[in-house]
C-alpha cells in the first residue's frame, strides 16, 4: 500500500478542506496530535479509526462547531475564524444525531433549516429533497413519530437541502437498512451545483467506506497514520492494517491505564 499526498485539486478549485497541524486538548488529554489533512474539491474521503481515536473531534473541528487548541482550518479556501458564516454555508453534516425537532413535522424542520441557510425557492426544494429520500408521504408527520432510520433519511435531506459543496458524515450508517444505505451512497455521488460534491465520511463500515470514497485515511490515537487512494486498496488489506492499528491503540491505552 502506497501513501500519497492528497494535495491535488479538481479544476484548479481550492481544496474543499485543508487542516494544518490540528491539535485538540481536553484538560490534560491530547486528543488530536497535529493532524494535517486535505480534501480536494469534489474528492471523497473515508476516515476510519478505532473508538476514541479522535474522529468525531476532528470532524467537529473541520465542521467549525469546535475550535482546535492549535492549528488552522480552511473550508473551500475560507478561514472560518474570519468568515464563519461563509464557511458554514458550504458544509452539510449528517451525524449520529438527527438535529431534528421531535414536535415539528418533517416539512417544518426542513423549512426551519432552509430559512437558516437562506435556501431560495424553499418549499419546492423541500418537496424535491424529501422525494429524493423517499419520505414524501410522511412530509407532514411529526418527526417524533418516525423510526430512527426515517429520521436519518430526513437528516440526510436536511444536510443536502442547501446544496453544500462539502458533505461531512459521522457514522451515517448507524441504524440504516440496506435501502437507506444505498440512498446515502447515491446522495453522496450527486453533484452539488453541477460539480462533484466533496465528502468526508467517518465510518467503521470498511466496505461502505471503500465503495464510496476516492481515498482512505486512518486515524489512530489522534494521528493520521495512513492515507491511500481507495482504488489501490483491497478490503482485506485495509481490514488487516486497521485491525493491527486498533490492537496497538488498545494495548497502548491499557499500558497508559496501568501506569496511572
Amino acid at each position: 500500500m502506497t501513501e500519497r499526498s492528497p494535495e491535488e485539486t479538481v479544476d484548479g478549485a481550492p481544496p474543499a478542506l485543508e487542516a494544518a497541524r490540528i491539535t485538540k486538548r481536553f484538560g490534560h488529554r491530547l486528543v488530536l496530535k497535529g493532524v494535517d489533512f486535505s480534501l480536494a474539491a469534489g474528492e471523497r474521503v473515508a476516515l476510519f479509526g478505532p473508538n476514541g481515536a479522535g474522529k468525531t473531534t476532528l470532524m467537529r473541528i473541520l465542521a467549525t462547531v469546535s475550535s482546535p487548541s492549535s492549528g488552522s482550518v480552511l473550508v473551500d479556501g475560507i478561514d472560518p475564524l474570519d468568515e464563519p458564516l461563509e464557511a458554514r454555508r458550504r458544509i452539510g453534516v449528517v451525524s449520529h444525531h438527527s438535529y431534528l425537532y421531535d414536535d415539528l413535522t418533517a416539512r417544518e424542520n426542513l423549512r426551519f433549516y432552509g430559512r437558516m441557510y437562506d435556501v431560495p425557492d424553499l418549499d419546492a426544494r423541500i418537496v424535491e429533497t424529501v422525494a429524493r429520500v423517499g419520505l414524501s408521504a410522511r412530509l407532514d408527520d411529526r418527526v417524533g413519530t418516525f423510526s430512527h432510520g426515517m429520521q436519518q433519511r430526513i437528516a440526510m435531506a436536511r444536510a443536502v437541502l442547501h446544496d453544500p459543496e462539502l458533505l461531512m458524515l459521522d457514522e451515517p450508517e448507524a441504524g440504516l437498512d440496506q435501502d437507506a444505505l444505498d440512498l446515502l451512497v447515491e446522495l453522496l455521488r450527486e453533484p452539488a451545483s453541477g460539480r462533484r460534491r466533496a465528502a468526508l465520511v467517518v465510518t467503521h463500515h470498511l466496505d461502505l467506506g471503500l465503495s464510496l470514497s476516492d481515498r482512505v485515511a486512518i486515524l489512530v490515537d489522534g494521528r493520521l497514520v495512513f492515507q491511500a487512494p481507495s482504488c489501490e486498496l483491497d478490503p482485506a488489506s485495509v481490514r488487516q492494517f486497521y485491525s493491527r492499528h486498533t490492537a496497538s491503540a488498545r494495548s497502548g491505552r491499557k499500558r497508559e491505564a496501568a501506569v496511572r
Binding site: 449520529h96 438535529y99 421531535d102 437558516m116
Partner: protein, 224 residues
C-alpha cells in the same frame, strides 16, 4: 438585515410551534404561578391594611420562579437530538440565535402573565390593569428574560442544569427584581403614586444594560 431578521423569526416560529404542540413550558409556568398566588393568599390572611404591602412581592415571586421553570426548558429542545449543534452549524450569527430565543422566552412569559394577572387581581382585589402597572410588569419581564436567556444557554452545558440556572440568574437579576417590586408597590399603595418614576428609570436602565451585555456575550457561551 432581512436575512438576519428572517433567521430570528425562524427560531421564534420554531419555538412557538413546538410549544403549541407540547404545551410543556406555559402549562408548567402557569400551574406554578397559580400555586404561589393561592398559597400566599391563604398564608397571609390578607386584609386591606396589609395586602398592598405583600402583593408586589407575591406577584414577582410568582413571575420570577415560574419564569425560571420556562427558562430551564428553553434550551432543552435544542439539546435533544443534538439540535444545538445543528443550529451552531447553520450560517447564522450567534446573536440571531440569542434574539430568537429571547423573543420566544418573552412570548412564553408574557402569555403566562396574561393568564396569571387576572387571577392575581381577583385574589388580591387590586387594580392590576393600569397602563403603568402593565409597563412595570413588561419592563421587569424583559430584564429578567434578557439575562435569563443567556444563563439558560450557559446552564444547559452543565450537568446540574436545573440547579445551576437559579444560582447564576437570581443574584444577577436582583437589581431588576428590587426595582420591579418597589415600582409595583408604589403604584399599588393607597397613597397617590409619587415614587414609581425613579424605580421605573432603574428598571429601564437595567433592561438596557442586561440586554446589551447578554447580546454581546452570547457567542462566547458556545466557545470551548
Amino acid at each position: 438585515m432581512n436575512s438576519y431578521l428572517n433567521k430570528v423569526l425562524a427560531i421564534v416560529g420554531k419555538d412557538v410551534t413546538s410549544e403549541l404542540r407540547s404545551r410543556e413550558v406555559i402549562s408548567s409556568m402557569f400551574v406554578f404561578a397559580l400555586l404561589v398566588i393561592v398559597i400566599f393568599n391563604f398564608a397571609f390572611e390578607l386584609r386591606v391594611e396589609n395586602k398592598e404591602a405583600v402583593a408586589p412581592g407575591v406577584l414577582w415571586v410568582a413571575i420570577i420562579f415560574a419564569g425560571m421553570l420556562g427558562l430551564n426548558r428553553s434550551f432543552i429542545n435544542e439539546k435533544d437530538r443534538g439540535c444545538m449543534e445543528g443550529l451552531l452549524l447553520c450560517p447564522v450569527d450567534r446573536s440571531a440565535i440569542y434574539m430568537g430565543k429571547l423573543a420566544g422566552n418573552l412570548i412564553f412569559m408574557l402569555a403566562m402573565e396574561a393568564i396569571i394577572l387576572p387571577v392575581f387581581a381577583a385574589f388580591f382585589n387590586l387594580p392590576m390593569f393600569t397602563p403603568r402597572l402593565l409597563l412595570i410588569v413588561l419592563l421587569g419581564t424583559v430584564g429578567f428574560v434578557a439575562v435569563g436567556t443567556l444563563f439558560s444557554a450557559v446552564a444547559v452545558h452543565t450537568r446540574a442544569q436545573e440547579i445551576m440556572l437559579p444560582i447564576l440568574l437570581l443574584p444577577v437579576t436582583v437589581p431588576v427584581l428590587v426595582a420591579a417590586v418597589k415600582a409595583t408597590g408604589d403604584l399599588l399603595s393607597s397613597t397617590p403614586p409619587t415614587t414609581e418614576g425613579p424605580w421605573l428609570g432603574v428598571l429601564v436602565g437595567f433592561d438596557v444594560i442586561f440586554f446589551t451585555a447578554a447580546f454581546l456575550t452570547f457567542e462566547y457561551v458556545f466557545q470551548e
